[in-house]
């Protein structure tokens, strides 16, 4: 199943912040983690991650530091900041509301799961 582009874009910020809340990472590792978490169904354009990380850095949600990879290349590591955690908590609440509302709608609509699968 492919996830809609707009949905991927909307969830990108909380997803990246959430992944960084687990621990400091560099760009490629963040994307690998996204793949693991979504079972490979959230396809990002890899290049788009970096402008997003820079935006989060400018907003003060993450901090970046240059380090070195195992192969000796320069590599930029990202870490979440205190205000990043605040933003994450806020996003989490917003998503909880959205998810809750959707769940209620799905229940009321009572879609038979087999039909839903046929559409996908």
């Amino acid at each position: 199943m492919r996830i809609d582009k707009d949905l991927v874009a909307a969830s990108a910020t909380p997803l990246v912040l959430g992944i960084l809340a687990e621990g400091d990472l560099y760009g490629y590792a963040i994307l690998k983690r996204v793949g693991e978490l979504s079972g490979g169904s959230m396809q990002w354009t890899d290049g788009m991650l970096y402008p997003l990380l820079h935006r989060l850095e400018r907003l003060g949600y993450v901090s970046a530091a240059w380090g070195t990879s195992e192969a000796g290349r320069r590599r930029k590591h990202y870490a979440i900041t205190a205000s990043g955690r605040e933003a994450l908590a806020e996003r989490q609440e917003q998503w909880a509301v959205v998810a809750d509302a959707l769940r209620q709608v799905w229940q009321n609509a009572q879609l038979p799961p087999t039909v839903a699968e046929g559409w996908a």
């Binding site: 760009g27 490629y28 354009t45 290049g47 192969a71 930029k76």
Partner: protein
């Protein structure tokens, strides 16, 4: 380690290709190259050969145009460094350059004609001419932006309606001549007009902090270009003057009647076009200039503080001195704005941020002395339009500088991102416009056009 010459060549070519995108900095390329290599290594581990792995990794990285646009959206300061970010259509790239030059020259001549006509019709009344000077040139500058940005009707109306209202107020009010409210109106009207020009410049996206910052950059660059054009023009006229004098011809009437009325407003339009077209030429001068002038301004402010402190009673401080000091504070503000706009917002705090804090502290001290002097003058001699206008401007500056200093301290202690400081500057700008509009529109009514 195995040698993959073919792969290295691929990556080298890719790097060269990406580096040509000016929105993507060298550090970003490095970061993405690391990503690319990791991806390639993972794919190779899954059994793909070099070529296949490279192709898949490149594909996953995405369309470079789109990524580059995304980088530019995030770093509009980089976008600023180039003529065209991503040429939307390459086919007609050459034709518009000539068309644009034609439009610019027509507008410049138009501004000259407007000023010349203004001089002819209003020339006898100095006050009337001073009030209208900005109004005569503004439509041509705003017209250039309207053409360049293809403004929508609504945005054009948002610029035109306040302009017409301002023009009506400035010409219908029965100013007593020579009166201080008239002088104040003439001084403050250009500020309102300039911010209106800003609305046209940002193409109606006046809520965007990034676009407002672009306008600040534009203003700074325009000042530099205009100065350069003026200097060049002065040299030419001077040489011409000398030659004609030897021949026995007097250039002065021609200069007063034709060269200055056309040259001064025309140069403004041409400078605006140059800034638009050639942003990257002076781009390296701007940060250098602010860095040269920041320490010098600090020294100047400290010297002024010493002079003011040794001058004795603040009530006796000369009125002219207060006006000059106001001008200096406005200059400090411009320097601050420009240095902030020229700074890379992701860079870590450094020496110049500390200097900036010192500058702010010195400016705040000067402002405090000024406010005390003004309040004691008002207590001594009572209110007058001039004093209230100066007091208001000083209070605005005090708030602006004090909060900027506070944010700078937060940034130096790594409590806040630099972006907070940028946003404060751009969001505070309209306050000056509102105050200027009040001085133009409300003051004459309150003070009976005195």
């Amino acid at each position: 380690m195995e040698l993959h010459t073919e792969l290295e060549a691929h990556i080298g070519r890719w790097r060269g290709y990406v580096q040509r995108r000016q929105a993507i900095s060298a550090a970003d390329v490095e970061e993405m190259e690391d990503h690319l290599r990791e991806q390639v290594a993972d794919l190779q581990a899954n059994g793909l050969d070099d070529d296949e792995a490279f192709l898949v990794a490149i594909r996953r990285l995405g369309n470079l145009d789109a990524v580059s646009r995304e980088f530019a959206r995030e770093h509009s300061d980089r976008l600023w460094k180039q003529l065209v970010l991503v040429p939307e259509d390459l086919d007609d790239a050459a034709a518009p350059r000539w068309r644009e030059l034609g439009v610019v020259l027509a507008l410049a001549v138009g501004a000259g004609v407007a000023v010349k006509a203004g001089l002819a019709w209003l020339g006898d009344d100095g006050g009337l001419l001073a009030r209208n000077a900005g109004l005569l040139v503004f439509p041509f500058l705003a017209g250039y932006f309207a053409w360049k940005r293809r403004l929508t009707g609504r945005v054009a109306a948002a610029v035109a309606i306040p302009f017409v209202a301002l023009a009506v107020v400035l010409n219908v009010y029965p100013f007593g001549s020579p009166g201080s409210t008239e002088l104040l109106a003439a001084l403050h009207a250009p500020v309102v007009l300039w911010l209106l020009a800003g609305v046209a410049y940002v193409g109606g996206k006046w809520r965007s902090d990034g676009r407002r910052m672009d306008f600040v950059r534009f203003t700074g660059e325009l000042a530099i270009y205009y100065t350069l054009l003026a200097l060049g023009g002065a040299v030419l006229i001077g040489l011409m003057f000398g030659v004609l004098q030897i021949v026995g011809l007097d250039l002065e009437p021609v200069m007063e009647d034709w060269i200055l009325p056309f040259g001064v407003p025309g140069a403004l339009i041409v400078a605006a076009w140059l800034v638009e077209a050639k942003q990257n030429v002076v781009e390296n001068i701007a940060p250098v200039l602010t860095r040269v002038f920041m320490p010098l301004t600090i020294v100047m402010l400290l010297a002024l503080l010493a002079v003011l402190a040794s001058a004795g009673g603040l009530v006796d401080v000369d009125r002219g001195l207060l006006i000059l000091m106001n001008a200096i504070l406005v200059l400090v503000l411009c320097l601050l704005l420009y240095s902030i706009s020229a700074r890379d917002s992701l860079a870590a705090p450094g020496l110049f941020d500390i200097l900036q804090l010192v500058l702010l502290a010195a400016a705040l001290a000067v402002d405090a002395v000024m406010l005390t002097a003004m309040l004691s003058r008002i207590a001594e001699f009572g209110f007058s339009p001039n004093k209230i206008a100066a007091l208001g401007l000083n209070l605005l500056l005090l708030v602006h500088l004090a909060w900027a200093a506070w944010l700078t301290i937060g940034f130096l202690r790594r409590r806040r991102p630099f972006g907070a400081l940028e946003r404060w500057q751009t969001r505070y700008l309209p306050v000056y416009g509102a105050w200027a509009a009040i001085v133009v529109v409300v003051f004459p009514l309150v003070f009976g056009f005195a």
